[in-house]
Amino acid sequence: MSASSAVTDEPTIEIGPGRTTRSVRSSRRGRPPKRSAVSDSTAIGRNKWIPYLFSAPSIIMVSLILAYPVIWGIVQSFFRRELGGATEFVGVQNYVEMFSDPSFWDALGKTGIFVFGCLALTLVLGLVFAFALNRALGALRFLRAITIAPYIVSSVAAAVMFRILFNGDFGLINRVLMFFGLDGLPWLSDPTLAMVVVIFAQTWSDLPLVILLLLAGLQAIDKSYLEAALVDGASPFQRARHITIPLLSPQIAISMIWTSYSTLTGLGVVLALTGGGPLRGTQILPIEMYQTAFISFQQNQALAIGTFILVLNALLTLIYLRVSRGYGVED
Protein backbone atom coordinates (compact mmCIF):
# COMPACT_ATOMS: atom_id res chain seq x y z
CA MET A 1 0.00 0.00 0.00
CA SER A 2 2.95 2.28 -0.05
CA ALA A 3 3.40 4.58 -3.00
CA SER A 4 6.90 5.36 -4.02
CA SER A 5 7.30 8.87 -5.21
CA ALA A 6 9.50 11.63 -6.36
CA VAL A 7 8.69 14.07 -3.59
CA THR A 8 8.96 11.81 -0.61
CA ASP A 9 11.44 9.00 -1.24
CA GLU A 10 9.22 6.71 0.70
CA PRO A 11 11.02 3.56 1.72
CA THR A 12 9.78 0.16 0.80
CA ILE A 13 10.47 -3.01 2.68
CA GLU A 14 11.04 -6.44 1.31
CA ILE A 15 9.32 -8.79 3.69
CA GLY A 16 11.21 -11.75 2.23
CA PRO A 17 14.95 -12.03 2.58
CA GLY A 18 16.34 -9.11 0.63
CA ARG A 19 18.86 -9.79 -2.08
CA THR A 20 21.69 -7.34 -2.08
CA THR A 21 24.00 -6.33 -4.85
CA ARG A 22 26.58 -8.65 -3.48
CA SER A 23 24.57 -11.84 -3.75
CA VAL A 24 23.35 -10.84 -7.22
CA ARG A 25 26.93 -10.40 -8.31
CA SER A 26 28.00 -13.73 -6.90
CA SER A 27 25.20 -15.51 -8.70
CA ARG A 28 26.22 -13.88 -11.94
CA ARG A 29 29.67 -15.32 -11.48
CA GLY A 30 28.11 -18.76 -11.65
CA ARG A 31 27.95 -19.53 -7.99
CA PRO A 32 24.52 -20.52 -6.72
CA PRO A 33 22.73 -17.50 -5.21
CA LYS A 34 22.78 -17.52 -1.46
CA ARG A 35 19.50 -17.25 0.37
CA SER A 36 21.11 -14.91 2.84
CA ALA A 37 20.53 -11.19 2.53
CA VAL A 38 24.13 -10.64 3.38
CA SER A 39 27.71 -11.61 2.94
CA ASP A 40 29.10 -15.00 2.01
CA SER A 41 32.63 -14.29 3.21
CA THR A 42 32.13 -12.77 6.64
CA ALA A 43 30.03 -13.32 9.70
CA ILE A 44 27.65 -10.40 9.05
CA GLY A 45 24.10 -11.59 9.40
CA ARG A 46 25.07 -15.07 10.51
CA ASN A 47 24.79 -14.90 14.28
CA LYS A 48 22.00 -17.06 15.63
CA TRP A 49 20.93 -15.06 18.68
CA ILE A 50 21.73 -11.47 17.84
CA PRO A 51 18.64 -10.84 15.64
CA TYR A 52 16.28 -12.12 18.34
CA LEU A 53 18.10 -10.10 20.97
CA PHE A 54 17.96 -6.99 18.80
CA SER A 55 14.31 -7.24 17.83
CA ALA A 56 13.08 -8.30 21.27
CA PRO A 57 12.68 -4.77 22.74
CA SER A 58 10.46 -3.65 19.87
CA ILE A 59 8.37 -6.78 19.97
CA ILE A 60 7.92 -6.51 23.73
CA MET A 61 7.01 -2.81 23.52
CA VAL A 62 4.54 -3.27 20.66
CA SER A 63 2.91 -6.24 22.40
CA LEU A 64 2.74 -4.42 25.71
CA ILE A 65 1.52 -1.03 24.49
CA LEU A 66 -0.54 -1.88 21.40
CA ALA A 67 -1.37 -5.54 20.82
CA TYR A 68 -2.18 -6.72 24.33
CA PRO A 69 -4.33 -3.71 25.36
CA VAL A 70 -6.43 -3.90 22.21
CA ILE A 71 -7.07 -7.62 22.58
CA TRP A 72 -7.67 -7.14 26.29
CA GLY A 73 -10.21 -4.42 25.45
CA ILE A 74 -12.08 -6.60 22.98
CA VAL A 75 -12.21 -9.47 25.48
CA GLN A 76 -13.30 -7.16 28.28
CA SER A 77 -16.23 -5.90 26.20
CA PHE A 78 -17.86 -9.26 26.99
CA PHE A 79 -17.41 -8.72 30.70
CA ARG A 80 -18.77 -6.28 33.18
CA ARG A 81 -17.43 -4.85 36.38
CA GLU A 82 -19.68 -3.15 38.86
CA LEU A 83 -18.21 -0.37 40.94
CA GLY A 84 -15.86 -1.95 43.44
CA GLY A 85 -17.12 -5.41 42.54
CA ALA A 86 -15.64 -8.38 40.74
CA THR A 87 -15.50 -8.76 36.97
CA GLU A 88 -18.11 -11.16 35.62
CA PHE A 89 -18.76 -12.60 32.18
CA VAL A 90 -21.96 -11.20 30.68
CA GLY A 91 -21.73 -12.48 27.10
CA VAL A 92 -23.07 -10.04 24.53
CA GLN A 93 -25.11 -8.09 27.05
CA ASN A 94 -22.97 -4.96 26.64
CA TYR A 95 -23.65 -5.09 22.92
CA VAL A 96 -27.37 -5.77 23.34
CA GLU A 97 -27.66 -2.75 25.62
CA MET A 98 -25.55 -0.66 23.26
CA PHE A 99 -27.77 -1.48 20.26
CA SER A 100 -30.95 -0.82 22.23
CA ASP A 101 -29.71 2.58 23.39
CA PRO A 102 -31.17 5.40 21.29
CA SER A 103 -28.20 7.65 22.10
CA PHE A 104 -25.91 5.08 20.43
CA TRP A 105 -27.91 5.27 17.20
CA ASP A 106 -27.97 9.04 17.42
CA ALA A 107 -24.16 9.08 17.81
CA LEU A 108 -23.79 6.58 14.96
CA GLY A 109 -25.81 8.89 12.72
CA LYS A 110 -23.68 11.88 13.75
CA THR A 111 -20.58 9.80 13.07
CA GLY A 112 -21.90 9.01 9.60
CA ILE A 113 -22.42 12.70 8.84
CA PHE A 114 -19.04 13.60 10.32
CA VAL A 115 -17.07 10.90 8.48
CA PHE A 116 -18.87 11.46 5.19
CA GLY A 117 -18.51 15.24 5.45
CA CYS A 118 -14.80 14.98 6.19
CA LEU A 119 -14.28 12.45 3.39
CA ALA A 120 -16.07 14.57 0.81
CA LEU A 121 -14.33 17.78 1.84
CA THR A 122 -10.92 16.13 2.13
CA LEU A 123 -11.18 14.42 -1.22
CA VAL A 124 -12.41 17.48 -3.12
CA LEU A 125 -9.90 19.87 -1.54
CA GLY A 126 -7.12 17.29 -1.64
CA LEU A 127 -7.58 16.64 -5.36
CA VAL A 128 -7.93 20.32 -6.29
CA PHE A 129 -4.91 21.37 -4.21
CA ALA A 130 -2.78 18.44 -5.36
CA PHE A 131 -3.57 19.12 -9.05
CA ALA A 132 -2.69 22.78 -8.56
CA LEU A 133 0.51 22.03 -6.61
CA ASN A 134 1.53 19.56 -9.31
CA ARG A 135 1.59 22.48 -11.76
CA ALA A 136 3.23 24.96 -9.36
CA LEU A 137 6.71 23.59 -9.77
CA GLY A 138 8.59 26.83 -9.20
CA ALA A 139 7.03 27.63 -5.87
CA LEU A 140 6.49 24.02 -4.85
CA ARG A 141 8.88 23.92 -1.92
CA PHE A 142 7.47 27.08 -0.40
CA LEU A 143 3.88 26.02 -0.97
CA ARG A 144 4.54 22.53 0.36
CA ALA A 145 5.94 24.01 3.55
CA ILE A 146 2.70 25.97 3.95
CA THR A 147 0.61 22.93 3.09
CA ILE A 148 1.97 20.77 5.89
CA ALA A 149 1.78 23.47 8.57
CA PRO A 150 -1.39 22.00 10.17
CA TYR A 151 0.51 18.75 10.76
CA ILE A 152 2.55 20.31 13.55
CA VAL A 153 -0.53 21.65 15.35
CA SER A 154 -2.01 19.46 18.07
CA SER A 155 -5.71 18.67 17.94
CA VAL A 156 -6.37 20.88 20.97
CA ALA A 157 -4.51 23.84 19.46
CA ALA A 158 -6.41 23.34 16.19
CA ALA A 159 -9.64 23.38 18.18
CA VAL A 160 -8.65 26.69 19.83
CA MET A 161 -7.81 28.16 16.43
CA PHE A 162 -11.14 27.12 14.93
CA ARG A 163 -13.09 28.33 17.94
CA ILE A 164 -11.59 31.77 17.34
CA LEU A 165 -12.02 31.60 13.56
CA PHE A 166 -15.68 30.60 13.78
CA ASN A 167 -16.55 32.65 16.87
CA GLY A 168 -20.08 34.02 16.61
CA ASP A 169 -19.17 37.43 17.99
CA PHE A 170 -15.79 38.31 16.54
CA GLY A 171 -14.75 35.39 14.32
CA LEU A 172 -13.17 36.19 10.97
CA ILE A 173 -15.74 34.04 9.14
CA ASN A 174 -18.61 36.12 10.46
CA ARG A 175 -16.71 39.36 9.81
CA VAL A 176 -16.30 38.29 6.18
CA LEU A 177 -19.97 37.33 5.94
CA MET A 178 -20.98 40.72 7.33
CA PHE A 179 -18.58 42.46 4.96
CA PHE A 180 -20.62 40.99 2.12
CA GLY A 181 -23.80 42.25 3.77
CA LEU A 182 -24.83 38.86 5.14
CA ASP A 183 -25.79 38.01 8.69
CA GLY A 184 -23.21 36.40 10.93
CA LEU A 185 -24.08 32.83 11.90
CA PRO A 186 -24.08 31.34 15.42
CA TRP A 187 -21.55 28.72 14.29
CA LEU A 188 -20.72 27.06 17.59
CA SER A 189 -24.03 27.43 19.41
CA ASP A 190 -26.19 25.86 16.71
CA PRO A 191 -26.07 22.02 16.65
CA THR A 192 -26.10 21.75 12.84
CA LEU A 193 -23.59 24.53 12.23
CA ALA A 194 -21.31 23.15 14.94
CA MET A 195 -21.10 19.93 12.94
CA VAL A 196 -19.97 21.99 9.93
CA VAL A 197 -17.27 23.62 12.06
CA VAL A 198 -15.92 20.33 13.44
CA ILE A 199 -15.86 18.87 9.91
CA PHE A 200 -13.80 21.86 8.75
CA ALA A 201 -11.46 21.65 11.74
CA GLN A 202 -10.89 17.91 11.37
CA THR A 203 -10.33 18.25 7.62
CA TRP A 204 -7.90 21.09 8.21
CA SER A 205 -5.85 18.80 10.45
CA ASP A 206 -5.97 15.78 8.14
CA LEU A 207 -5.54 17.44 4.76
CA PRO A 208 -1.71 17.77 4.65
CA LEU A 209 -1.25 14.01 4.51
CA VAL A 210 -3.85 13.58 1.77
CA ILE A 211 -2.40 16.40 -0.34
CA LEU A 212 1.11 14.96 -0.07
CA LEU A 213 -0.12 11.47 -0.95
CA LEU A 214 -2.08 12.62 -3.98
CA LEU A 215 0.74 14.91 -5.09
CA ALA A 216 3.20 12.02 -4.88
CA GLY A 217 0.82 9.92 -6.96
CA LEU A 218 0.43 12.69 -9.55
CA GLN A 219 4.17 13.16 -9.87
CA ALA A 220 4.66 9.44 -10.37
CA ILE A 221 2.28 9.30 -13.35
CA ASP A 222 4.09 8.62 -16.60
CA LYS A 223 3.79 11.79 -18.69
CA SER A 224 3.64 9.82 -21.94
CA TYR A 225 0.07 8.69 -21.19
CA LEU A 226 -1.05 12.29 -20.97
CA GLU A 227 0.89 13.29 -24.06
CA ALA A 228 -0.65 10.43 -26.03
CA ALA A 229 -4.09 11.56 -24.90
CA LEU A 230 -3.25 15.12 -25.84
CA VAL A 231 -2.31 14.04 -29.36
CA ASP A 232 -5.58 12.16 -29.55
CA GLY A 233 -7.32 15.43 -28.72
CA ALA A 234 -8.68 14.48 -25.34
CA SER A 235 -10.05 17.44 -23.43
CA PRO A 236 -8.59 18.29 -20.02
CA PHE A 237 -11.69 16.84 -18.41
CA GLN A 238 -11.40 13.63 -20.41
CA ARG A 239 -7.72 13.32 -19.49
CA ALA A 240 -8.52 13.71 -15.83
CA ARG A 241 -11.46 11.31 -16.00
CA HIS A 242 -9.87 8.54 -18.07
CA ILE A 243 -6.16 8.79 -17.31
CA THR A 244 -5.18 10.75 -14.22
CA ILE A 245 -7.93 9.61 -11.86
CA PRO A 246 -7.65 5.88 -12.70
CA LEU A 247 -3.87 6.02 -12.39
CA LEU A 248 -4.29 7.91 -9.14
CA SER A 249 -6.84 5.47 -7.73
CA PRO A 250 -4.38 3.69 -5.38
CA GLN A 251 -3.51 7.02 -3.77
CA ILE A 252 -7.16 8.05 -3.67
CA ALA A 253 -8.02 4.76 -1.99
CA ILE A 254 -5.26 5.16 0.59
CA SER A 255 -6.37 8.73 1.24
CA MET A 256 -9.95 7.62 1.79
CA ILE A 257 -8.91 4.72 4.03
CA TRP A 258 -6.69 7.01 6.04
CA THR A 259 -9.24 9.82 6.27
CA SER A 260 -12.05 7.57 7.42
CA TYR A 261 -9.70 5.87 9.88
CA SER A 262 -8.66 9.22 11.24
CA THR A 263 -12.19 10.66 11.44
CA LEU A 264 -13.89 7.50 12.69
CA THR A 265 -11.41 7.13 15.54
CA GLY A 266 -10.53 10.81 15.93
CA LEU A 267 -11.52 12.16 19.29
CA GLY A 268 -9.14 15.07 19.96
CA VAL A 269 -10.42 17.81 17.65
CA VAL A 270 -14.12 17.33 18.39
CA LEU A 271 -13.63 16.83 22.12
CA ALA A 272 -11.57 20.00 22.43
CA LEU A 273 -13.72 22.04 20.03
CA THR A 274 -17.29 21.23 21.10
CA GLY A 275 -17.08 18.31 23.51
CA GLY A 276 -20.02 16.74 21.65
CA GLY A 277 -22.30 19.72 22.04
CA PRO A 278 -24.25 21.86 21.64
CA LEU A 279 -27.30 19.67 22.38
CA ARG A 280 -25.42 16.54 21.24
CA GLY A 281 -25.04 18.18 17.82
CA THR A 282 -21.51 16.82 17.42
CA GLN A 283 -21.88 13.75 19.65
CA ILE A 284 -19.96 11.30 17.48
CA LEU A 285 -19.22 7.73 18.60
CA PRO A 286 -15.70 8.43 19.98
CA ILE A 287 -17.19 11.15 22.21
CA GLU A 288 -19.95 8.77 23.24
CA MET A 289 -17.28 6.20 24.08
CA TYR A 290 -15.17 8.68 26.03
CA GLN A 291 -18.13 9.88 28.07
CA THR A 292 -19.36 6.36 28.77
CA ALA A 293 -15.90 5.38 29.96
CA PHE A 294 -14.73 8.42 31.86
CA ILE A 295 -17.85 10.43 32.75
CA SER A 296 -20.36 7.64 33.51
CA PHE A 297 -17.47 5.28 34.30
CA GLN A 298 -19.08 2.31 32.54
CA GLN A 299 -15.82 1.20 31.03
CA ASN A 300 -16.80 -2.24 29.80
CA GLN A 301 -19.79 -0.76 28.01
CA ALA A 302 -17.42 1.80 26.49
CA LEU A 303 -15.21 -1.04 25.29
CA ALA A 304 -18.20 -2.44 23.40
CA ILE A 305 -18.51 0.90 21.57
CA GLY A 306 -14.75 0.90 20.96
CA THR A 307 -14.86 -2.61 19.50
CA PHE A 308 -17.80 -1.60 17.31
CA ILE A 309 -15.72 1.34 15.97
CA LEU A 310 -12.82 -1.02 15.20
CA VAL A 311 -15.09 -3.39 13.27
CA LEU A 312 -16.69 -0.49 11.38
CA ASN A 313 -13.24 0.80 10.46
CA ALA A 314 -12.13 -2.60 9.17
CA LEU A 315 -15.31 -2.92 7.07
CA LEU A 316 -14.84 0.53 5.51
CA THR A 317 -11.22 -0.29 4.65
CA LEU A 318 -12.26 -3.50 2.89
CA ILE A 319 -14.94 -1.67 0.90
CA TYR A 320 -12.51 1.01 -0.30
CA LEU A 321 -9.93 -1.56 -1.34
CA ARG A 322 -12.51 -3.48 -3.33
CA VAL A 323 -13.97 -0.39 -4.99
CA SER A 324 -10.59 1.07 -5.87
CA ARG A 325 -9.41 -2.21 -7.39
CA GLY A 326 -12.55 -2.34 -9.53
CA TYR A 327 -12.07 1.24 -10.63
CA GLY A 328 -8.35 0.98 -11.22
CA VAL A 329 -8.49 -1.87 -13.76
CA GLU A 330 -11.51 -0.50 -15.62
CA ASP A 331 -9.53 1.65 -18.05
Partner: protein, 317 residues
Protein backbone atom coordinates in the same frame (compact mmCIF):
# COMPACT_ATOMS: atom_id res chain seq x y z
CA UNK B 1 -14.18 11.55 -28.98
CA UNK B 2 -13.35 9.48 -32.06
CA UNK B 3 -14.52 11.51 -35.01
CA UNK B 4 -13.45 14.83 -33.53
CA UNK B 5 -10.07 13.39 -32.65
CA UNK B 6 -9.51 12.13 -36.17
CA UNK B 7 -10.50 15.43 -37.71
CA UNK B 8 -8.30 17.39 -35.36
CA UNK B 9 -5.38 15.04 -35.82
CA UNK B 10 -5.67 15.28 -39.63
CA UNK B 11 -5.86 19.05 -39.36
CA UNK B 12 -2.69 19.14 -37.27
CA UNK B 13 -0.68 16.94 -39.66
CA UNK B 14 -1.87 18.91 -42.71
CA UNK B 15 -0.89 22.29 -41.29
CA UNK B 16 2.43 20.99 -40.11
CA UNK B 17 3.27 19.52 -43.50
CA UNK B 18 2.39 22.79 -45.25
CA UNK B 19 4.64 24.74 -42.93
CA UNK B 20 7.57 22.43 -43.43
CA UNK B 21 7.12 22.43 -47.19
CA UNK B 22 7.19 26.22 -47.25
CA UNK B 23 10.22 26.31 -45.03
CA UNK B 24 12.01 23.72 -47.16
CA UNK B 25 11.37 25.74 -50.31
CA UNK B 26 13.04 28.59 -48.39
CA UNK B 27 14.98 30.28 -51.25
CA UNK B 28 18.08 30.23 -49.10
CA UNK B 29 16.58 32.56 -46.56
CA UNK B 30 15.94 31.55 -42.93
CA UNK B 31 12.32 30.83 -42.20
CA UNK B 32 10.59 34.03 -41.12
CA UNK B 33 10.11 34.12 -37.36
CA UNK B 34 6.70 35.65 -36.97
CA UNK B 35 5.26 35.97 -33.51
CA UNK B 36 1.74 35.00 -34.26
CA UNK B 37 -0.90 37.12 -32.58
CA UNK B 38 -2.94 35.04 -30.17
CA UNK B 39 -6.54 34.64 -31.12
CA UNK B 40 -9.09 35.75 -28.51
CA UNK B 41 -10.02 32.11 -27.90
CA UNK B 42 -6.44 31.27 -27.02
CA UNK B 43 -6.11 34.27 -24.74
CA UNK B 44 -9.24 33.25 -22.88
CA UNK B 45 -8.06 29.64 -22.66
CA UNK B 46 -4.64 30.60 -21.30
CA UNK B 47 -6.23 32.91 -18.78
CA UNK B 48 -8.58 30.13 -17.70
CA UNK B 49 -5.75 27.66 -17.25
CA UNK B 50 -3.71 30.13 -15.21
CA UNK B 51 -6.74 30.92 -13.09
CA UNK B 52 -7.47 27.23 -12.63
CA UNK B 53 -4.00 26.73 -11.19
CA UNK B 54 -3.46 29.99 -9.34
CA UNK B 55 -6.89 30.20 -7.75
CA UNK B 56 -6.67 26.85 -5.94
CA UNK B 57 -3.17 27.74 -4.74
CA UNK B 58 -4.48 31.00 -3.31
CA UNK B 59 -7.34 29.13 -1.66
CA UNK B 60 -4.82 26.63 -0.29
CA UNK B 61 -2.71 29.36 1.28
CA UNK B 62 -5.75 31.10 2.76
CA UNK B 63 -7.21 27.77 3.97
CA UNK B 64 -4.01 26.86 5.78
CA UNK B 65 -3.06 30.28 7.05
CA UNK B 66 -6.42 31.67 8.20
CA UNK B 67 -6.61 29.72 11.50
CA UNK B 68 -3.01 30.71 12.32
CA UNK B 69 -3.68 34.30 11.36
CA UNK B 70 -6.78 34.78 13.52
CA UNK B 71 -5.03 33.11 16.45
CA UNK B 72 -2.02 35.40 16.20
CA UNK B 73 -4.32 38.42 16.01
CA UNK B 74 -6.38 37.27 19.01
CA UNK B 75 -3.24 36.60 21.05
CA UNK B 76 -2.05 40.19 20.54
CA UNK B 77 -5.20 41.75 21.98
CA UNK B 78 -6.65 42.11 25.43
CA UNK B 79 -9.70 40.22 26.57
CA UNK B 80 -12.10 43.07 25.89
CA UNK B 81 -10.50 44.20 22.66
CA UNK B 82 -11.12 40.83 21.03
CA UNK B 83 -14.83 41.54 21.16
CA UNK B 84 -14.74 45.31 20.76
CA UNK B 85 -12.23 45.67 17.94
CA UNK B 86 -14.18 45.98 14.67
CA UNK B 87 -11.12 45.59 12.47
CA UNK B 88 -9.30 42.46 11.44
CA UNK B 89 -5.87 43.50 12.74
CA UNK B 90 -5.28 44.39 16.40
CA UNK B 91 -5.79 48.11 17.04
CA UNK B 92 -3.02 48.38 19.64
CA UNK B 93 -0.99 45.16 19.74
CA UNK B 94 0.08 44.07 23.20
CA UNK B 95 1.84 41.05 24.61
CA UNK B 96 -0.30 40.96 27.76
CA UNK B 97 -1.69 37.53 26.91
CA UNK B 98 1.79 36.04 26.60
CA UNK B 99 2.85 37.64 29.87
CA UNK B 100 -0.21 36.11 31.53
CA UNK B 101 0.67 32.68 30.16
CA UNK B 102 4.27 33.02 31.34
CA UNK B 103 3.09 33.98 34.81
CA UNK B 104 0.99 30.88 35.25
CA UNK B 105 2.88 28.14 37.11
CA UNK B 106 0.98 25.34 35.35
CA UNK B 107 2.34 26.56 32.01
CA UNK B 108 5.92 25.99 33.11
CA UNK B 109 5.22 22.60 34.64
CA UNK B 110 3.35 21.41 31.56
CA UNK B 111 6.06 22.79 29.30
CA UNK B 112 8.66 20.93 31.35
CA UNK B 113 6.61 17.73 31.17
CA UNK B 114 6.21 18.08 27.42
CA UNK B 115 9.95 18.54 27.02
CA UNK B 116 10.72 15.52 29.22
CA UNK B 117 8.16 13.29 27.51
CA UNK B 118 9.15 14.52 24.04
CA UNK B 119 12.87 14.02 24.58
CA UNK B 120 12.35 10.71 26.38
CA UNK B 121 10.13 9.34 23.63
CA UNK B 122 12.54 10.44 20.92
CA UNK B 123 15.59 8.88 22.58
CA UNK B 124 13.83 5.65 23.58
CA UNK B 125 12.25 5.21 20.15
CA UNK B 126 15.59 5.57 18.38
CA UNK B 127 17.38 3.38 20.93
CA UNK B 128 14.87 0.56 20.41
CA UNK B 129 14.16 0.98 16.71
CA UNK B 130 17.80 1.01 15.51
CA UNK B 131 18.82 -2.50 16.67
CA UNK B 132 15.45 -3.93 15.69
CA UNK B 133 15.58 -2.48 12.20
CA UNK B 134 19.19 -3.58 11.83
CA UNK B 135 18.22 -7.13 12.77
CA UNK B 136 15.36 -7.20 10.27
CA UNK B 137 17.39 -5.61 7.50
CA UNK B 138 20.65 -7.54 7.87
CA UNK B 139 19.89 -10.90 9.43
CA UNK B 140 18.11 -13.88 8.09
CA UNK B 141 16.52 -15.67 10.96
CA UNK B 142 13.72 -18.07 11.59
CA UNK B 143 10.43 -16.21 11.97
CA UNK B 144 11.79 -13.00 10.45
CA UNK B 145 8.77 -12.33 8.23
CA UNK B 146 6.27 -13.06 10.96
CA UNK B 147 8.07 -11.00 13.59
CA UNK B 148 8.43 -8.06 11.20
CA UNK B 149 4.73 -8.19 10.43
CA UNK B 150 4.00 -8.46 14.14
CA UNK B 151 6.03 -5.31 14.76
CA UNK B 152 4.52 -3.30 11.89
CA UNK B 153 0.87 -4.33 11.95
CA UNK B 154 -0.07 -2.76 15.33
CA UNK B 155 0.40 0.56 13.53
CA UNK B 156 -3.27 0.12 12.61
CA UNK B 157 -4.38 0.38 16.24
CA UNK B 158 -6.06 3.75 16.83
CA UNK B 159 -5.44 5.70 20.04
CA UNK B 160 -9.14 5.57 20.69
CA UNK B 161 -9.06 1.79 21.13
CA UNK B 162 -6.24 2.16 23.65
CA UNK B 163 -7.82 4.76 25.94
CA UNK B 164 -9.84 2.49 28.20
CA UNK B 165 -7.51 -0.56 28.17
CA UNK B 166 -4.37 1.45 28.87
CA UNK B 167 -6.13 3.39 31.60
CA UNK B 168 -7.34 0.22 33.31
CA UNK B 169 -4.03 -1.59 32.93
CA UNK B 170 -2.16 1.48 34.20
CA UNK B 171 -4.43 1.71 37.22
CA UNK B 172 -3.99 -1.97 38.01
CA UNK B 173 -0.19 -1.89 37.67
CA UNK B 174 0.24 1.44 39.43
CA UNK B 175 1.62 3.08 36.32
CA UNK B 176 -1.08 5.74 36.23
CA UNK B 177 -0.08 9.40 36.55
CA UNK B 178 3.62 8.79 35.91
CA UNK B 179 5.47 10.61 33.14
CA UNK B 180 7.50 7.50 32.38
CA UNK B 181 4.26 5.69 31.47
CA UNK B 182 3.62 8.35 28.85
CA UNK B 183 7.13 7.92 27.44
CA UNK B 184 6.59 4.16 27.18
CA UNK B 185 3.17 4.52 25.57
CA UNK B 186 4.30 7.07 22.98
CA UNK B 187 7.39 5.03 22.20
CA UNK B 188 5.24 1.96 21.64
CA UNK B 189 2.97 3.93 19.35
CA UNK B 190 5.81 5.35 17.25
CA UNK B 191 7.85 2.14 17.05
CA UNK B 192 6.03 0.35 14.20
CA UNK B 193 6.46 3.34 11.92
CA UNK B 194 10.04 3.96 13.06
CA UNK B 195 11.02 0.35 12.41
CA UNK B 196 9.27 0.43 9.03
CA UNK B 197 11.21 3.54 7.98
CA UNK B 198 14.56 2.30 9.25
CA UNK B 199 14.35 -1.21 7.79
CA UNK B 200 13.70 0.32 4.38
CA UNK B 201 16.63 2.65 4.90
CA UNK B 202 19.09 -0.02 6.06
CA UNK B 203 18.18 -2.28 3.17
CA UNK B 204 19.45 0.46 0.86
CA UNK B 205 22.88 0.65 2.55
CA UNK B 206 25.18 -1.77 0.66
CA UNK B 207 26.42 -4.67 2.74
CA UNK B 208 29.86 -4.33 1.12
CA UNK B 209 30.75 -1.37 3.35
CA UNK B 210 30.17 -3.40 6.45
CA UNK B 211 31.96 -6.38 5.02
CA UNK B 212 35.01 -4.30 4.33
CA UNK B 213 34.97 -3.06 7.92
CA UNK B 214 34.45 -6.59 9.15
CA UNK B 215 37.48 -7.78 7.21
CA UNK B 216 39.44 -4.99 8.88
CA UNK B 217 38.41 -6.44 12.21
CA UNK B 218 35.45 -4.25 13.18
CA UNK B 219 32.99 -6.04 15.43
CA UNK B 220 29.23 -5.67 15.35
CA UNK B 221 29.16 -2.78 17.80
CA UNK B 222 31.85 -0.89 15.90
CA UNK B 223 30.09 -1.41 12.59
CA UNK B 224 26.83 -0.13 14.08
CA UNK B 225 28.50 2.80 15.76
CA UNK B 226 30.86 3.95 13.02
CA UNK B 227 29.17 2.86 9.79
CA UNK B 228 25.45 2.24 10.14
CA UNK B 229 24.57 5.07 12.53
CA UNK B 230 26.41 7.86 10.66
CA UNK B 231 24.94 6.70 7.35
CA UNK B 232 21.40 6.67 8.67
CA UNK B 233 21.34 10.18 10.17
CA UNK B 234 18.60 11.45 7.78
CA UNK B 235 16.34 8.52 8.66
CA UNK B 236 17.05 9.03 12.35
CA UNK B 237 16.05 12.70 12.09
CA UNK B 238 12.79 11.72 10.41
CA UNK B 239 12.07 9.23 13.17
CA UNK B 240 13.06 11.74 15.82
CA UNK B 241 10.65 14.32 14.39
CA UNK B 242 7.85 11.74 14.26
CA UNK B 243 8.43 10.55 17.82
CA UNK B 244 8.78 14.04 19.22
CA UNK B 245 5.66 15.26 17.45
CA UNK B 246 3.67 12.28 18.70
CA UNK B 247 4.74 12.93 22.29
CA UNK B 248 4.35 16.70 22.03
CA UNK B 249 0.92 16.80 20.40
CA UNK B 250 -0.83 13.67 21.63
CA UNK B 251 -3.94 14.50 23.60
CA UNK B 252 -6.42 11.67 24.08
CA UNK B 253 -4.13 9.31 26.01
CA UNK B 254 -2.50 11.91 28.22
CA UNK B 255 -6.04 13.01 29.04
CA UNK B 256 -6.80 9.68 30.73
CA UNK B 257 -3.32 8.55 31.83
CA UNK B 258 -2.30 11.65 33.79
CA UNK B 259 -4.57 12.51 36.68
CA UNK B 260 -2.73 15.18 38.67
CA UNK B 261 -2.40 18.77 37.46
CA UNK B 262 1.38 18.77 37.81
CA UNK B 263 1.75 15.94 35.28
CA UNK B 264 -0.10 17.51 32.36
CA UNK B 265 1.56 18.03 29.00
CA UNK B 266 0.90 21.17 26.95
CA UNK B 267 -2.15 19.95 24.96
CA UNK B 268 -3.80 18.81 28.20
CA UNK B 269 -2.95 22.15 29.82
CA UNK B 270 -4.46 23.99 26.85
CA UNK B 271 -7.57 21.82 27.10
CA UNK B 272 -8.06 22.56 30.81
CA UNK B 273 -7.61 26.31 30.16
CA UNK B 274 -10.73 26.28 28.01
CA UNK B 275 -13.28 25.44 30.65
CA UNK B 276 -12.01 27.42 33.61
CA UNK B 277 -13.83 30.71 33.30
CA UNK B 278 -17.34 31.72 32.29
CA UNK B 279 -16.33 33.76 29.27
CA UNK B 280 -13.29 32.09 27.70
CA UNK B 281 -10.10 34.09 27.85
CA UNK B 282 -9.44 33.99 24.14
CA UNK B 283 -6.15 35.94 24.07
CA UNK B 284 -4.40 33.65 26.58
CA UNK B 285 -5.82 30.54 24.94
CA UNK B 286 -4.56 31.80 21.59
CA UNK B 287 -1.15 32.64 23.04
CA UNK B 288 -0.84 29.25 24.70
CA UNK B 289 -1.96 27.46 21.52
CA UNK B 290 0.71 29.31 19.54
CA UNK B 291 3.35 28.60 22.17
CA UNK B 292 2.71 24.87 21.84
CA UNK B 293 3.63 25.11 18.15
CA UNK B 294 6.79 27.17 18.76
CA UNK B 295 9.39 24.37 18.93
CA UNK B 296 8.35 23.26 15.47
CA UNK B 297 8.23 26.77 14.04
CA UNK B 298 11.81 27.49 15.13
CA UNK B 299 13.22 24.60 13.13
CA UNK B 300 10.39 24.43 10.61
CA UNK B 301 12.12 25.08 7.30
CA UNK B 302 14.99 22.83 8.31
CA UNK B 303 12.87 19.87 9.30
CA UNK B 304 10.17 20.37 6.65
CA UNK B 305 11.68 17.66 4.45
CA UNK B 306 11.74 15.17 7.31
CA UNK B 307 8.22 16.04 8.31
CA UNK B 308 7.08 15.40 4.75
CA UNK B 309 8.80 12.02 4.79
CA UNK B 310 7.29 11.21 8.13
CA UNK B 311 3.77 12.15 7.07
CA UNK B 312 3.79 10.13 3.88
CA UNK B 313 5.48 7.18 5.52
CA UNK B 314 2.75 7.30 8.11
CA UNK B 315 0.20 6.43 5.48
CA UNK B 316 1.98 3.26 4.44
CA UNK B 317 -0.03 1.30 6.91
Amino acid sequence: MNRNTLRRARHVTETESIVTAEQRRGWGRPAPTVTRKRTPVEVVRRATITTLIVMPLLVLVVWTAAPFFVTVVASLQTRGEVFANPGILPASPSFDAYVQVFQSPTFWSSLGNSVIVGAGTTVLTIAIAVPTAYAFARFNFRGRGFLLLFTLLPRLVPNLALMVPLYRLAVETGAIDKLFTLILVYTGMTLPLAVFLLVGFYQKIPVDVEEAASVDGANLWQRLRFIVMPLSVPALITIGVLAFREAWNEFTLVLVLMTSASNRTLPFELYTQQGLEGIPNYPTQAALALLTVIPFVIVYMRIERYVVQGITAGSGK
